[in-house]
Amino acid sequence: MYYLTVQNLGKERCIHRGEEDIYSDGMVFSCIPDLDFPGGECVKEIMIVCSEVPDPPMKAKVYRY
């Protein structure tokens, strides 16, 4: 399982998860979801766009668990 997280004010939040690693730079996600996130191994860092606030792009991490 892959988890996409963003961090704000020191708090990390999982905003998307899926069976496959579909995540890449420039993809657009809502930053409002807050999903259960077990942790795991960080496989990459990407820059995503928050659909609520598109500018500037936001740093995100992809975890595998």
Partner: protein
């Protein structure tokens, strides 16, 4: 002054004229309306002046106090409100009074934009007062020294998503020291006798000049400049005005935004013990500051350039026209704290457990969206928390059934939250969403 001229009368007249011209020049040269006697630039000395950010206060912009009454509501809301008021206040006077009440007040609802702030800063500029150097010709301190010019800037480092948006006002404060009202009067009398063979006579001349000054007459230039990440202030002092002191700057700032969704429970109806129950959950999206990390202190880069006017001689007098001046330039760069984390993080509260690891209650919508169950303030969170506690103790509550409010389901540990979990399972409590040192309030009876 007396001169006897016995030979050439024309030559005597020329001499007399020359004396008048020379006296005029001498008198003009003695004017006190001068900046200095001599001036020279010595070089750089970065230790003569210091600057610090004495205080900074970050405030949220105050909301307006717009009031709405019954007549500002929509037509359908007006109809419903009038019907309700008619039922509650059958008396005519009470009914009429109820119609004119204020029902909505702007600013009492949830704030939807928390990214703007007003920042008030007080800068302190001081100079080195090394009295051990008094009288030292090679020293850099005298009583008459002053900071003549300064330009300072405050720049926000790029790692903080923070921008200056407006310059509310700025003011400079100095201590006022009025030395004296002084009047200077200088005169020169000439008395010449002509005693020649053909001409006998004399002439008398007088040149006088008077000046009046108010020492420490204040004259000051103050310029400001603001850009996306930088403010700059420039000051120039004049005679008797030392730029040592405090400068206050008020600016508006905005953070880049990050979205949060907060929950507004609707309390209506009566429960079994007379307390109101939660009939529905409403949600509103708010924008909070976007700062990836939450540093304890947000710092900015402070830079100061100055010109220091050191008086080599002439410092005994308050007026500056007799000063021999040596100018120094200097520069200071330092990082200063602007505000702390607690001034930035929103004070949202959630419900959950932090016994082993932090686990929080979430909301799942009918569409399958899942987000944190968080409230705009502690009071709202506690009210909802109390309702959960009461409901979980309700004897007819099916223990294994999920906690559902309207069409929304509460989620805990990636599973639907059950009344059993609340009644006898893991302890849950009200907790701050962002770390602020609040330990939270535990559910009564929880372990």
């Amino acid at each position: 002054m007396r001169y006897l001229i016995q030979h050439d009368p024309a030559m005597n007249t020329r001499s007399y004229t020359w004396m008048l011209v020379i006296a005029l020049l001498i008198n003009s040269g003695c004017t006190t309306v001068k900046r200095f006697k001599t001036a020279s630039y010595v070089g750089e000395d970065h230790a003569l002046v210091d600057m610090s950010l004495f205080g900074a206060r970050l405030d949220e912009p105050s909301p307006g106090s717009e009031v709405k009454d019954l007549w500002d509501l929509s037509a359908s809301a007006q109809t419903q409100m009038i019907q309700i008021l008619h039922e509650r206040y059958p008396d005519n006077a009470q009914f009429t009074a109820a119609l004119n009440r204020e029902y909505l007040r702007k600013g009492t609802g949830p704030v939807t934009d928390m990214t703007t702030r007003d920042l008030q800063m007080v800068f302190t500029i001081s100079k080195d007062r090394d009295y051990s150097q008094l009288g030292n010709r090679d020293g850099t301190f005298s009583h008459a020294d002053r900071i003549e010019y300064l330009k300072f800037s405050l720049e926000i480092p790029p790692e903080f998503n923070l921008h200056f948006t407006g310059w509310n006002r700025y003011a400079t404060e100095y201590g006022e020291i009025k030395v004296a009202d002084m009047s200077f009067s200088r005169s020169l009398d000439l008395d010449a006798d002509l005693d020649a063979e053909l001409v006998e006579g004399g002439a008398r001349g007088s040149i006088s000049r008077s000046e009046e000054q108010v020492i420490n007459t204040r004259y000051l230039k103050l310029n400001g400049f603001i850009s996306d990440r930088r403010i700059e202030i420039e000051e120039e002092g004049t005679r008797g005005t030392d730029l040592t002191g405090n400068v206050t700057a008020n600016v508006s700032m905005v953070f880049d935004a990050f979205p949060e969704r907060i929950t507004i429970p609707l309390f209506t109806g009566k429960e079994w013990d007379g307390a109101p129950g939660v009939s529905a959950l409403k949600f509103t999206d708010v924008m909070v500051p976007r700062l990836e990390e939450a540093p304890e202190v947000v710092e900015a880069a402070l830079s100061l350039e100055y010109i220091y006017r050191h008086v080599i001689s002439g410092e005994k007098t308050f007026q500056e026209w007799d000063d021999r001046v040596a100018y120094y330039s200097g520069k200071i760069e330092k990082r200063v704290p602007l505000f702390s984390r607690s001034e930035v993080v929103p004070r949202f509260y959630c419900i959950g457990s932090d016994a082993d690891s932090r686990e929080v209650i979430r909301v799942r919508t009918p569409a399958g969206e899942e987000f944190l169950l968080q409230f705009a303030d502690y009071g709202m969170a506690m009210r909802f928390f109390d309702w959960l506690a009461r409901e979980s103790g309700y004897p007819d509550q099916p223990a294994g059934s999920p906690v559902e409010i309207g069409r929304h389901t509460l989620i805990f540990r990636d599973r639907p939250l059950t009344w059993h979990t609340l009644a006898g399972g893991d302890p849950v409590k009200v907790m701050p969403v962002y770390e602020s040192g609040d330990s939270g309030t535990s559910l009564p009876g929880s372990r």
